[in-house]
C-alpha cells in the first residue's frame, strides 16, 4: 500500500523535527551551562585552541545525519513525484490573476475556483498559467507546484477522505494574491459523476421575465466579452465561465459566499469589494442590476 503524499511529508517533518529539537536543546543546554559554570572568576583560563579529534568527530556525525536525511528525501521525492514519460493530465488548472480555471480532460467540463474530484483516485494535474506565476497549494492534499506561463508542470492530486479542502495561491502574483484562494471538493465517485453531468447540461432557459431581462443585460453590456455562458466554451477565458455559476458555493476565488447580496455588491462596484480585480465597474442602473443578479443566481 502506498502512503498518500502528505503522510510521507509529515513523517519526514516529524523525523526532522525530532533531530532539530535535539540539536537545539543541546545548543541551549551547553550555552546555559557554560555561561553559568564558567562565569568570570578573575583568573585567566587555559589558552587552549581547540581539539581536532572532537571536530572531526562532529563532522562525521553531521555527515551521518545528512546522509540519512538525504536518502529519506530522495525516497520521498520519488514516491511523491513520479510522473509518466508522456504525461496526459486528467485535470488542467490554469492560473489567472486572481482566479483558477479548471478543465477536465475526459468529460470536457470547464469550471472555476471550486474543483471537484472523486475520492480515493489519483488524479494527474497539469498546471500552467495565463499571465504571471502562480502556485498551486492545498496544504492537506500534498505538495505545491508553481504554475508558470509557457510551461506545463504535472503533479498528483489524491485524497483518501471526502470533504472540502482549502488552498491558496502561494506565489506572489500581484494585488489580490491574498484573495486567490481555492477550494477542492472531494466527493464519492457517484456524486462526482452527477456533478459532472450537471455541469455538462446546456445553459438554462426560462420563461421568467426577470431572468430573460438579466440575460439580455448580460449580453448587451459586453459581459460576454470576458465571461462565457456556453457550456465548455473556452474561447473567452479572460474571466471565469459562468454557465453554471450558481452551482458554486463561493465566488471571487473563495472570497465571498455566493448569495444575492454579495453578488449585488460586487456587480455594483467591483473595486470596492476586491480592489485591483480585473472586472471593470459598469455602473449598472438599479433595474439592470436587479435583473442581472436574478439571472446569475439562477444559472444552476
Amino acid at each position: 500500500m502506498q502512503f498518500p503524499d502528505i503522510e510521507i511529508t509529515e513523517r519526514l517533518f516529524l523525523y526532522f523535527g525530532i533531530v532539530a529539537f535535539i540539536i537545539f536543546v543541546l545548543v541551549v543546554f551547553f550555552i546555559n551551562r557554560f555561561t553559568v559554570k564558567y562565569r568570570d572568576k578573575g583568573e585567566i583560563p587555559v589558552q587552549s585552541g581547540g581539539n581536532e579529534k572532537f571536530e572531526v568527530g562532529m563532522i562525521i556525525i553531521a555527515v551521518c545525519i545528512t546522509t540519512f536525511f538525504l536518502v529519506m528525501t530522495l525516497m520521498g521525492m520519488k514516491s511523491i513525484q513520479t510522473i509518466p514519460d508522456n504525461p496526459k493530465a486528467d485535470l488542467n488548472i490554469i492560473g489567472h490573476q486572481w482566479w483558477w480555471e479548471a478543465r477536465y480532460t475526459e468529460s470536457g467540463v470547464l469550471t472555476a475556483n471550486e474543483i471537484h474530484i472523486p475520492v480515493g483516485e489519483k488524479i494527474l494535474l497539469g498546471l500552467t498559467s495565463a499571465d504571471v506565476i502562480h502556485s498551486w497549494w492545498i496544504p492537506d492534499l500534498g505538495r505545491k507546484l508553481d504554475m508558470i506561463p509557457g510551461m506545463k508542470s504535472y503533479m498528483w492530486l489524491y485524497s483518501e477522505k471526502e470533504g472540502e479542502f482549502l488552498g491558496a495561491c502561494s506565489e506572489f502574483c500581484g494585488a489580490q494574491h491574498a484573495r486567490m484562494r481555492i477550494r477542492v471538493i472531494v466527493q464519492s465517485r457517484e456524486d462526482f459523476e452527477a456533478w459532472e453531468q450537471g455541469q455538462l447540461k446546456e445553459a438554462k432557459f426560462s420563461s421568467d421575465a426577470l431572468f430573460n431581462r438579466g440575460k439580455q443585460v448580460f449580453e448587451e453590456r459586453t459581459c460576454t466579452n470576458c465571461h462565457s455562458i456556453t457550456v465548455n466554451q473556452d474561447s473567452a477565458d479572460i474571466g471565469p465561465n459562468l454557465t453554471h455559476f450558481a452551482s458554486r458555493k463561493h465566488f471571487l476565488s473563495d472570497m465571498k459566499e455566493n448569495n444575492k447580496e454579495n453578488l449585488r455588491a460586487w456587480l455594483k462596484d467591483p473595486q470596492q469589494v476586491k480592489s485591483g480585480a480585473k472586472m471593470p465597474n459598469f455602473i449598472f442602473p438599479e433595474e439592470e442590476l436587479e435583473a442581472l443578479v436574478h439571472y446569475l443566481s439562477n444559472l444552476k
Partner: protein
C-alpha cells in the same frame, strides 16, 4: 557614514514593518489597500537587505579592516567614498519612486513576468532596478577595496593565515560579493532593457523565460544570504573569545568552514526553486548540496560554544547579543535545513514558515551580530561606552519581541498561511497567532527606540574609554580610542593571531606563526 546610512534606513524599514504587522494583526483587515501593502513589503525587504544590513556590514568592515591588519587606510579611499555615495544614491532613488507614481510592487525578489510592464505599470519597478544596480555597484566597489586592502596593506609580519577571523571572513566575503553581485546586476539590466526597450528576456508570451530570472536572482540571492551572514559570523568569532578570555576553539575549522560556505554557496541556489517543477534529478542533487552547506555552519556553532568551554565569561551586552545570536541563529539554521528536505519544501516554501526562517537568519543572525559588534566596537569608534543598563533593556525587549513575533510564524506557515498576503480569512488559530506576532513587533520597536536613545545620550558624554577596555587581542585595540587619523604610529610585534595577548602575557605567548 555607512553606519549612519544603515541606521537611517533601518528606521524607515522598521516603520514599514510596523505598518505591515498592523495590517496583519486582524483577519480581513482593510487598514491599507493591497497595492500599498505590496509596495510596503517590497520596500521593507529591499531596504532591510540592501540598505541596512549590507551598508552596516560594509561600514564595520571599512572601519575595522585597516585597524585590525595594521594598515593606515583602505587601499582605495576614493573608491570607498564612491561606494558609499552609490549606495546612498541607490537608496534615495528607490525611495523617490514613491513620489513618482508608486513604489515597486513585485516583491524584493521581483519575479518576472509580474515585474514586467504588462503587470506592473507604475515606474516603481524601474526605480527598483536602477536603485539596486547602483547599490550593487557600490557593494562591488567596497568588496574590491576589502580584498585589495587585505592582500596588500597588511602589517609586514602578518601572514594571511594569521588574520583575525572578522577580517578573514570579510576577505572571503569580498570574493563572494565580487562573484555574486555581477549576476544580479546582469539580471537587473536585462529586466531594465525588457521594461524600457521592449525586449523580452523574461516574457514567456513572446519567447522569453520566466524561470531565467529566478535562476539569475537566486544564483545571486543565495550567496547574498551568506554575504550577510559571514561578517556577522566574523563579529561573533571576535566577541565570544574576547569575553570568554580564551582563543577561538578550532581557528582552522572556523576559518576553513568559511571558505567551504563561500564555495558551496554558489551550488545551492536551486533550493529556492524546488517548487518550480524541475525534475527529481535536479532537485535531488541540489537537496544534497543544500544539506551539505549546513555542515560547515553547524561546525561554526559548535566551535563558538566550544570557545566558552572552560573559559572565564564576562556577560557584557555585547556577549549577551552574541549568545542570543547563537540560539536564534541555530533556530534559523535548523529551519533552513528543513528546506533542503525537498518534500518539506514542497509544503512549506512561500509560507510564513519561510518568513520566520529568513527573519531568524537576518534578524536573529545578522542583526544580533551587528548589535554585538556595535556594543563591542563603540568605545573604539567613538571613545565612549554605550550604557550597559540601557543596552540590557534593549537586548531583553528585542529578544523577547523578536521571538514572540517570529517563533509563532513557523506555526502559521505549517497551518497554511502563504506569505505576502495583505489579508487573510478568519481560519482557526490564524487570528490569535497573527495578533501575538504583531504585538511582538511593538516590543522590538520599543527596543530600537531605547537603542537610539542610548546612542544619542552616549554621544553627548565626554570621551572616557581606554585604549583596550575589553582586554582584547587584535591590533585595533592598540590604538587610542578613537584612533588617530593615521591609525598607527607604531605597531606591536606580530607573531601570532593575538598580538596584544603576546604583548600583555610575555611569559605565556601563543604559538608563533612566523
Amino acid at each position: 557614514m555607512y553606519l549612519w546610512l544603515a541606521l537611517f534606513f533601518f528606521i524607515i524599514g522598521g516603520l514599514e514593518a510596523m505598518v505591515l504587522r498592523a495590517q496583519l494583526a486582524l483577519p480581513n483587515n482593510e487598514l491599507i489597500s493591497p497595492e500599498t501593502y505590496n509596495q510596503l513589503f517590497t520596500m521593507h525587504g529591499t531596504t532591510m537587505i540592501f540598505l541596512v544590513l549590507m551598508p552596516a556590514l560594509i561600514g564595520l568592515g571599512t572601519y575595522l579592516i585597516p585597524l585590525m591588519i595594521g594598515a593606515n587606510e583602505m587601499a582605495f579611499p576614493r573608491l570607498n567614498a564612491f561606494s558609499l555615495w552609490m549606495t546612498f544614491m541607490g537608496g534615495t532613488l528607490l525611495y523617490f519612486s514613491f513620489f513618482a507614481g508608486g513604489g515597486p510592487d513585485a516583491g524584493w525578489f521581483n519575479y518576472a513576468p509580474l515585474s514586467e510592464n504588462n503587470y506592473s505599470s507604475s515606474h516603481g519597478v524601474d526605480y527598483y532596478l536602477i536603485g539596486l544596480i547602483l547599490t550593487g555597484i557600490g557593494s562591488i566597489g567596497a568588496a574590491l577595496n576589502f580584498v585589495t586592502t587585505v592582500l596588500t596593506l597588511r602589517a609586514p609580519d602578518m601572514k594571511l593565515n594569521m588574520l583575525p577571523l572578522f577580517v578573514w571572513m570579510m576577505f572571503i566575503n569580498g570574493f563572494l560579493i565580487l562573484a555574486a553581485f555581477p549576476l544580479l546586476n546582469a539580471g537587473l539590466f536585462m529586466m531594465l532593457i525588457d521594461r524600457q526597450f521592449d525586449a523580452h528576456f523574461f516574457i514567456p508570451s513572446s519567447g522569453g523565460s520566466a524561470i531565467l530570472w529566478q535562476h539569475f536572482f537566486w544564483a545571486f540571492g543565495h550567496p547574498e544570504v551568506y554575504i550577510l551572514a559571514l561578517p556577522a559570523f566574523g563579529i561573533i568569532s571576535e566577541v565570544i573569545p574576547v569575553f570568554s578570555r580564551k582563543p577561538i576553539f578550532g581557528y582552522k575549522f572556523v576559518a576553513s568552514s568559511t571558505v567551504a560556505i563561500a564555495l558551496l554557496a554558489f551550488g545551492v541556489w536551486v533550493h529556492h526553486m524546488f517548487a518550480v517543477g524541475m525534475s527529481n534529478t535536479v532537485n535531488g542533487f541540489f537537496a544534497a548540496s543544500s544539506m551539505l552547506i549546513g555542515i560547515p555552519t553547524g561546525i561554526k556553532v559548535i566551535n563558538w560554544i566550544g570557545t566558552m568551554y572552560k573559559g572565564s565569561i564576562r556577560m557584557t551586552v555585547s556577549m549577551m547579543f552574541a549568545l542570543a545570536f547563537l540560539i536564534d541563529f541555530t533556530i534559523g539554521g535548523l529551519s533552513g535545513a528543513s528546506f533542503a528536505i525537498v518534500p518539506i519544501d514542497w509544503q512549506l516554501t512561500d509560507t510564513y514558515y519561510v518568513v520566520a526562517h529568513i527573519h531568524y537568519v537576518f534578524l536573529g543572525g545578522t542583526a544580533f551580530g551587528i548589535f554585538a559588534g556595535i556594543f563591542y566596537w563603540f568605545p573604539k569608534i567613538t571613545g565612549r561606552h554605550l550604557s550597559e543598563k540601557l543596552g540590557k533593556w534593549h537586548l531583553w525587549l528585542f529578544v523577547f519581541g523578536f521571538n514572540m513575533t517570529f517563533l509563532l510564524q513557523h506555526m502559521l506557515g505549517i497551518l497554511g498561511m502563504p506569505r505576502r498576503i495583505y489579508t487573510y480569512p478568519d481560519l482557526p488559530y490564524w487570528k490569535i497567532l497573527n495578533l501575538i506576532s504583531s504585538i511582538g513587533a511593538i516590543f522590538m520597536f520599543v527596543a530600537i527606540g531605547i537603542f537610539l536613545y542610548n546612542i544619542f545620550i552616549t554621544l553627548k558624554k565626554p570621551r572616557s574609554a581606554e585604549d583596550n577596555p575589553w582586554e582584547a587581542w587584535t591590533l585595533e585595540w592598540s590604538t587610542p580610542s578613537p584612533p588617530n587619523l593615521k591609525n598607527f604610529e607604531q605597531l606591536p610585534p606580530i607573531h601570532s593571531r593575538r598580538p596584544l595577548w603576546d604583548l600583555n602575557n610575555p611569559d605565556n605567548p601563543d604559538k608563533r606563526l612566523n
